[in-house]
Every structure is written in C-alpha cells, then in structure tokens.
Symmetry: C2
Subunit: 130 residues, 2 copies
DNA sequence: TATAGTGTTTATAAACAGTATACAGTGAGC
DNA sequence: GCTCACTGTATACTGTTTATAAACACTATA
C-alpha cells in the first residue's frame, strides 16, 4: 500500500469518511493484501492522497487498532498485527445474514439486476473456501 | 405489517435509527412482503412499537417515498406504490460489488466462519432468480 | 361539524464528523 | 548528544446529522 490507489473516498456519500476508510482498509486486511508486519502509510500521507484531514485518518487507524488489526504507537508508523479471528458468535452470524439481505435489497432497489447480484454472490462464495 | 415484529431496532448500533428503519422496510418492499397497495402503520404506531420518536419514523417514510416506494400524503396513511426498478446502472453495480466485499470482510473480521458466509451467499444467490 | 386519526413543520439539544493547531514521541544523520 | 524530519496525540472549534418535542394542518368518518 505504498500508494493510496486502492482506497477511494466519496465525500458525497452518506457513510462518513472515517468509516469509509475503516471499511476499505479492513477489507484489505482480511483479504491479506496488507499482511502482518506491513507498514501503513502515515496519517498525513494517506490523508493527502485521499483529500481529507489527517486527523480523520488517525481516527480510522485508531478504530482498526481497537479491533486488533493494527499496532499504533506515538512517533512510529502504524503496523499490521498478526491477528486471530475472534470466536464465532451467533449474534454476529445473525447480523451478517440480515445485513446481507438488506444490501441485496438495496441493490435491487437501485436497479442492479438479479442476474448480476447472483453472479457476484456466487463468485464471492466460490472464492471463500481458502 | 399489522405489527412491528418484523422490524428490530438496535439503539446502540452505529447506524442511525432512521436508516435502520429505511433499510429494513426497503428489504420487506423488495422481497414483496409489503406489496403495492398495502398500508403501512402510522408513524406514531410504528414509533411506539420500536421505541423511538414518531418524527424519526416519519423521516424514514419520507426517504422511502423519495425512492419511489411509498405514497405519503398529509392526513392519510402511507401506502406502498407499484414501482418499477430503475434502469441498471454501471455505477450501482460497482458500488454493490464493493459494499458486498466490505460486508464479507467485516463479518470475517468479527469471527463469522468462511463456511457460514459462503453458505449464506449461496442460499441468497439461489433464491435470486425469480 | 366534531373528533380522532393521519403526516408536517419548526425548534431544540446532543452526538458526530471533520478540521486546525499546538503538542510529544521516534529515529536517522551528523 | 543534537537536530531535524518524520511519526501519532490532544484539544478546541465548526458545521452537520440525529433524535426529540410540541404545535400545526390535512383527511376521513361518525
């Protein structure tokens, strides 16, 4: 992640910028694009790339640190931690199911075709097993 | 939807209540649980059931009306409109793909198993074709 | 034409998001 | 050791959003 090209911020979106950053970096972490030991760009660097204030990026880093993904300490750049997934949780399962249903409903509502949605779900499911 | 049992609000969630209501009702609309012509509960009634202020529910109804799902007019109860899905939109497709990726990543991060996720994606994809 | 129902409007308080600025720790090079 | 350029932190401040409250206005019906 030497450049910020993998993250895109939409200032007009209804989801706040700090959460956009958290969500997108978390995705890279889960997918292994940012492996344990990797250094993240400094808050100022990433903020400049994204066109937001560095405090907003710092806030996002803090959130990810609280989730156990990052080690952040004063004066040093943020680093990806090795992280074991927390224990499975019935509540998290249920929440995922509901949010997935809602996301699909919203997509349909916006005109995304059933075929397209099914194919995205399928391809993601296929890539899931490893 | 004579009772509010199909909607559940989490006051501690990070997503605001008005959006929780919108998302859940939209899901019912897309899935046909609330068919065109159906009357929705009054804002006061639903608000009481959910434990929030009726202005919050009114705000949610207004959002769904702007999306073309509901007809609301002063003094009469909200009613579900027949609604044709908007034209497919490449941007909406892309946004759906990204948000789906992020949702899955978040679930994994919270300990939902790959198997569980894959099975949810699968079963949703299967039920998609109609 | 009451009256009990509906959603709307305006005002308010609290929480949140984003920024600016001053601060403090770290480490490489001198 | 010192310095300098880099890191993240803390506090204060602004505008926005969220949720509520209360007064309002429209509709249906008895």
């Amino acid at each position: 992640m030497s450049d910020g090209t993998q993250i895109r911020i939409d200032l007009d979106a209804s989801t706040p910028v700090n959460r956009q950053i958290v969500d997108q970096i978390r995705t890279l972490l889960v997918e292994g694009v940012l492996p344990p030991g990797a250094d993240l760009p400094s808050v100022r660097r990433l903020a400049t790339d994204l066109g937001v204030h560095f405090a907003t990026v710092a806030d996002a880093y803090r959130t990810l640190a609280e989730e156990g993904w990052l080690e952040i300490s004063h004066g040093r750049s943020a680093r990806v931690l090795p992280r074991r997934a927390p224990a499975a949780d019935r509540e998290a399962d249920e929440l995922f199911r509901r949010r997935l249903r809602q996301l699909v409903a919203e997509a349909r509502s916006q005109g995304v075709s059933a075929k397209k949605i099914a194919s995205e779900l399928d391809s993601l499911a296929k890539g899931m097993t490893p």
